[in-house]
């Protein structure tokens, strides 16, 4: 049994409304209705759901990028639910995030060099500027990014290169955990395959735990050990990928799986409906 890295219990989040002095929220829209989630060290966990399922909110809540209304989040044995931002700061290096759109997640006014070197110096992962530069260059070799990219700004790179810079920024800090938020939607299949393979190699080599958020069950199946299926702010199914895909328990999971068109002729697919709930 793997050791737990992230344990979230009964996480609830709402947006909008008003907050009373005791922290209670009046009005607003509930996005997460009490979610339990566990991520082991080195484990890749998929979080899948359609738009409005709360998967992105859950990911950001785990990393304390948004405040939660109720519940508890434990990272590496430490309750981080109530930590102040200054107390979170040393932990931030250990949990990183890779975004869906590398175009907007990389500062358009900075060079790639600055985007990558600055965090290394800030967290003292690198001793000095030269050490940081060496690490960045080493990583570029490893992921097949040309060194010329270092002096470019993000909009001067191709989509695949930008995505790799986004991955580099997270991985260079030597975290224990990365959150990958829809990182391959919108990429061509070939570029997508490259990015996913790179991510698989990195998590394996660095012993990284990963939460992989996606709306695409095929991608989840390809990279994840376990999967959480979310719908409307709740987890409707959880389990090892082999089990969930072989015999989905919830009707919603069956609906999602059935809705994926496979690249082979299946004359009945378009008119087939998933059987209604039997239990």
């Amino acid at each position: 049994m793997v050791q737990d890295l992230f344990v979230a219990s009964d996480v609830q989040v709402a947006y909008g409304g008003k907050r009373l002095l005791n922290g209670e929220r009046v009005g607003g829209v509930k996005v997460l209705y009490g979610v339990d989630l566990r991520i082991g060290r080195g484990e890749t966990v998929g979080i899948v759901g359609e738009s409005g399922s709360g998967k992105t909110t859950l990911g950001r809540a785990l990393m304390r990028l948004i405040d939660i209304d109720a519940g508890r989040i434990v990272f590496d044995g430490r309750d981080i639910t109530q930590l102040l931002e200054s107390q979170m700061r040393p932990l931030r290096r250990r949990m990183q995030i890779i975004f869906q759109d590398p175009m907007t997640s990389l500062n358009p006014r900075h060079t790639v060099r600055r985007i990558l070197v600055e965090p290394l110096l800030f967290h003292r992962v690198a001793r000095d500027h030269a050490d940081a530069e060496r690490r960045v260059r080493g990583f570029f070799d490893r992921v097949g990014l040309p060194l010329a990219c270092l002096d470019r700004t993000p909009h001067e790179l191709s989509g695949g290169q930008r995505q790799r810079v986004g991955i580099a920024r997270a991985a260079l800090l030597e975290p224990d955990f990365v959150l990958a938020d829809e990182i391959v939607s919108g990429l061509d299949v070939s570029t997508q395959a490259q990015a996913l393979n790179l991510l698989k190699t990195l998590t394996r080599d660095l012993g990284l735990a990963m939460a992989f958020i996606s709306h695409d069950l095929s991608v989840i199946r390809a990279v994840c050990d376990r999967v959480y299926v979310m719908k409307a702010g709740l987890v409707v199914e959880e389990g090892r990928c082999e089990d969930v895909f072989a015999a989905p328990k919830s009707r919603y999971t069956r609906l999602l799986i059935d809705a994926i068109p496979l690249p082979e002729i299946d004359p009945g697919w378009l008119d087939r409906d998933v059987a209604p709930e039997t239990d």
Binding site: R60, M63, L65, M88, R89, P90, R92, R93, M95, Q96, I97, F99, Q100, D101, T104, S105, L106, N107, P108, R109, H110, T111, P119, F122, H123, D128, H129, A130, E133, L147, A148, C149, L150, D151, T153, H155, R169, L173
Partner: protein, 299 residues
């Protein structure tokens, strides 16, 4: 030591970012034409004593109301003619550029500084900070600007310092509004969340991540504001609230020329044309800067 070891890495390839930004700027005709005009004007203002053909204050009633060169009864050496007191219009125009430019640069910079600082605070902290600053801006903008500036100068006393203070005090709101909106928009971008996730403190995120993205809009606005400052200075000179009348200003020249517009129209037309060209150049420069510095527009 660190510095030396960094420079021991050869540049990866191609010119660095600053060089490329400069090239992008120079490739924008509005920047080169507008900026070129302003640079020329600065040079003229700086070297006025050497460039101006006559002393701008010298009166000679024998040579009063001469028309510009090329017209009948023009005198050689008085290229733009003389006014009713016989002062050389071209020389007065050249010296007038000094006041116009000093006011433009100092007033616009002060207004930009104050407005940007408050705009960043309002856009970043939102909540009551934003409420306070935005209400202040609303109240400020409800005053008619020209009347307010006349009132301010009347209170502060005439003079170039008062004119600058009046413009800065009135026009910081323009910068505040734009910077606040831009900061709010940028704060929503993923790169800000990324900076937060890395653990950068809020002040670092505001100054080093967000501010550079606000600068293109800001620079464009500063340039436009310089044009506005030139006009406001002219208005205040026109009503006699700027510098004392022994210093030539474009606004003062327009006011003097207005009285004899039917006889010596050039005394009125020359400073008006200078004013028009300068404001146009600042506006073109501002528009060009916005285009050239915006990485999205440029692609």
């Amino acid at each position: 030591m660190t510095e030396a070891s960094v420079s021991s890495f050869p540049a990866a390839s191609g010119p660095n970012l600053a060089t490329r930004r400069l090239r992008a700027l120079l490739a924008e005709p509005k920047v080169t034409i507008g900026g070129g005009f302003i640079l020329a004007l600065i040079a003229i203002a700086l070297f006025a004593p050497w460039i101006a053909p006559k002393n701008p204050l010298d009166q000679d009633l024998m040579l009063a109301s001469l028309p510009p060169a090329g017209l009948a009864s023009a005198e050689p050496g008085y290229y733009l003619g003389t006014d009713d007191l016989g002062r050389d219009v071209l020389s007065r125009l050249i010296y007038g550029a000094r006041i116009a430019l000093i006011v433009a640069f100092v007033a616009a910079s002060l207004a930009a500084l104050a407005g940007t600082a408050l705009g960043l605070l309002a856009g970043w902290y939102r909540g009551w900070v934003d409420g306070l600053i935005s209400r202040l801006v609303d109240i400020w903008m409800a005053f008619p600007p020209v009347l307010l500036s006349i009132l301010l100068v009347a209170v502060l006393g005439a003079g170039v310092g008062s004119v600058i203070a009046a413009i800065a005090i009135i026009d910081w709101t323009r910068f505040c509004r734009v910077v606040r909106a831009e900061t709010m928009a940028q704060a929503q971008a993923d790169y800000v969340t990324a900076a937060h996730a890395i653990g950068f403190p809020p002040f670092h995120i505001l100054m080093r991540e967000i501010l550079p993205n606000v600068v293109p809009a800001l620079l464009a606005l500063v340039s436009l504001e310089m044009g506005i400052a030139v006009i406001v200075e002219a208005i205040l000179s026109f009503v006699g609230l700027s510098v004392s009348s022994d210093t030539p200003t474009w606004g003062g020249m327009i006011a003097e020329g207005r009285q004899f517009i039917h006889q010596t129209w050039w005394v009125f037309a020359a400073p008006l044309a200078a004013l028009f060209a300068t404001v146009l150049a600042f506006n073109q420069l501002g528009d060009g800067l916005r285009r050239a510095l915006d990485p999205v527009l440029r692609r």
